[in-house]
């Protein structure tokens, strides 16, 4: 019998797969970006079904709500037009698609055969926010802090790159009048 979990899992999976295919097929960049948002929202649904409520919420807030907003923002600012249509190369169709299918089958087979994973009940693995907090700030404190320093350096690099270069004469650039 189909449980409600399985039905929801299949529904979210179908949305994610359809969104991913639509992302590739769409010619307009903004439609492609919106399909990616649909994929991320569907993945958040899957995480929720697995009992990882915190990861699901963070997926929506960070990826769908912040990073993709910036993507859409850039597309809107550049006003990128419809993608130019090119004739697909015959090699890509003849060998690319079967090769990709074969590759993904191989990866799936290896993962299923050798990873030693078994069935787990929903909610048996850590997923609640307090458990994740404990993991991050006790067991994985050092990697967590190192990652945050890495991100800080990246932010500083972005600020340096984005700020205007100093004028050669030594005087700072004139402030633009409001």
């Amino acid at each position: 019998m189909l449980s409600i979990h399985l039905i929801l899992f299949l529904a979210f999976g179908a949305v994610a797969a359809a969104g991913a295919i639509n992302l590739l097929v769409q010619r307009h960049p903004i439609n492609a970006a919106l399909s990616l948002i649909a994929v991320m929202a569907a993945l958040a649904g899957e995480y929720m079904l697995l009992g990882a409520e915190f990861v699901a919420a963070v997926q929506v807030i960070v990826y769908a709500g912040a990073i993709m907003v910036l993507f859409v923002f850039v597309i809107m600012l550049l006003n990128a037009g419809v993608e130019e249509q090119t004739k697909g190369s015959r090699v890509a169709i003849l060998f690319g698609i079967p090769g990709m299918l074969l590759g993904s089958l191989l990866i799936a087979w290896v993962v299923l055969k050798h990873s030693g994973t078994g069935d787990v009940a929903v909610g048996a693995l850590p997923g609640a926010p307090n458990v994740i907090g404990q993991l991050l700030f006790h067991e994985f404190l050092l990697p967590f802090e190192v990652t945050s320093i890495l991100i800080l350096i990246a932010i500083m690099g972005a600020v340096v790159l984005a700020s205007k270069p100093p004028v050669p004469g030594g005087t700072p650039a004139k402030k633009v009048q409001d």
């Binding site: 915190f54 963070v58 929506v60 907003v69 809107m76």
Partner: protein, 344 residues
């Protein structure tokens, strides 16, 4: 509870909440016109019904019967989808808000909330509201109009910037309650201290957090003094310049529904939720918590309107400087101070 009854209860709850929400959206508009009118020495709506009380119904009918115009140069799929996105996510976020304790009807425990109490309720509300940005951004872009585009860009930049301060201002409350569940946060605010002051977070050291939340919430909902996205003196009407009839009404509904959600969240996080004095016969005692909740949300909405009638609009550079250079550091300082206070 059997699954059939569960679905029935959910449908009934959704219908009631949606009805109350949409009615309060309509009457918040009426209240705003009335209150701002009196502040500016005018009467506000008076003609339709007593005190102009039927004005929202008349406006709704007018929106329905207006010609549904689609300008020729818009990018049609997204032009049509944008108001839908805005209104759907504005109405969805209310489903995670609890309005009171569980009630027991015929032996079944029914939570006064559309969904059951999720462990990460607050995070999900923030997630749903953060997706609402797309409605505004896409409306601005798909209209193919420079004023709309500028309005949409301003709105998305503003909402992404102030979301950070909004989230950080709530973390202080989360540290005090030790939970993401809105129900637990309200339960942590029960009782009194010093005999009479209610144990609400706003009186319990979170007053700075409350003001950070207040300012970030005004910016998030694009209201005065942060209504730059639709600044009519420079941008015609911002992102909804090209919209008319029911499509415009959807943006309007989304804005006011977002105001109500923000008010509900402020009530739950800072103003003690449905906690309040209980007295009288059992039936009254059962209704009073919901009454207190609604009364607090009403006060919050009245504050919104009051601010609108009082303050001028910021310049855009002032808005960004305020958000990043003042509000964010203050919210961070509040977070650190709360953490030290709790660890003490």
């Amino acid at each position: 509870m059997p699954i059939g009854l569960y679905i029935l209860a959910s449908v009934i709850k959704s219908a009631i909440v949606l009805f109350v929400l949409l009615t309060s959206v309509a009457y918040t508009v009426w209240l705003e016109r009335k209150v701002v009118g009196h502040m500016q020495n005018r009467w506000g709506p008076t003609r339709v019904g007593p005190f102009g009380l039927l004005q929202p119904a008349a406006d709704g009918l007018k929106f329905l019967f207006k010609e549904d115009l689609t300008p020729p140069h818009v990018y049609k799929p997204l032009f049509l989808a944008a108001p839908l996105i805005a209104v759907v996510f504005a109405l969805t976020s209310i489903s995670l808000i609890p309005f009171g304790n569980d009630v027991v009807i015929g032996g079944y425990v029914i939570p006064l909330q559309i969904t059951t109490d999720v462990n990460t309720g607050l995070l999900l509300i923030l997630g749903v509201t953060s997706i609402g940005v797309y409605g505004v951004a896409l409306a601005g872009w798909s209209s193919n109009n420079k004023y709309s585009l500028l309005g949409g860009l301003r709105a998305s930049a503003q909402m992404v910037s102030y979301e950070i301060s909004l989230g950080l201002s709530l973390v202080g409350v989360l540290i005090m309650a030790g939970s993401f569940s809105l129900r637990d946060i309200v339960h942590a605010q029960q009782g009194h201290f010093w005999g009479f002051i209610p144990n609400w977070n706003i009186f319990h050291g979170q007053i700075i957090g409350f003001f950070c939340y207040l300012m970030a919430a005004y910016a998030e909902t694009n209201r005065i003094p942060f209504d730059l996205p639709e600044a009519e003196t420079e941008l015609v009407a911002g992102y909804h310049t090209e919209y008319s009839a029911m499509k415009f009404a959807m943006f309007f509904m989304a804005e006011y529904a977002n105001m109500i959600t923000v008010g509900c969240l402020a009530t739950l996080m800072f103003l003690g939720g449905w906690n309040g004095p209980l007295f009288g016969p059992p039936l009254l005692q059962a209704i009073l918590p919901v009454f207190w909740f609604v009364a607090k949300v009403f006060c919050f909405l009245f504050l919104y309107i009051w601010v609108r009638g009082t303050l001028p609009r910021f310049r855009y550079d002032q808005l960004m400087a305020f958000g990043w250079k003042f509000l964010l550091p203050v919210a961070l300082a509040n977070l650190i101070a709360t953490a030290i206070g709790v660890a003490w």
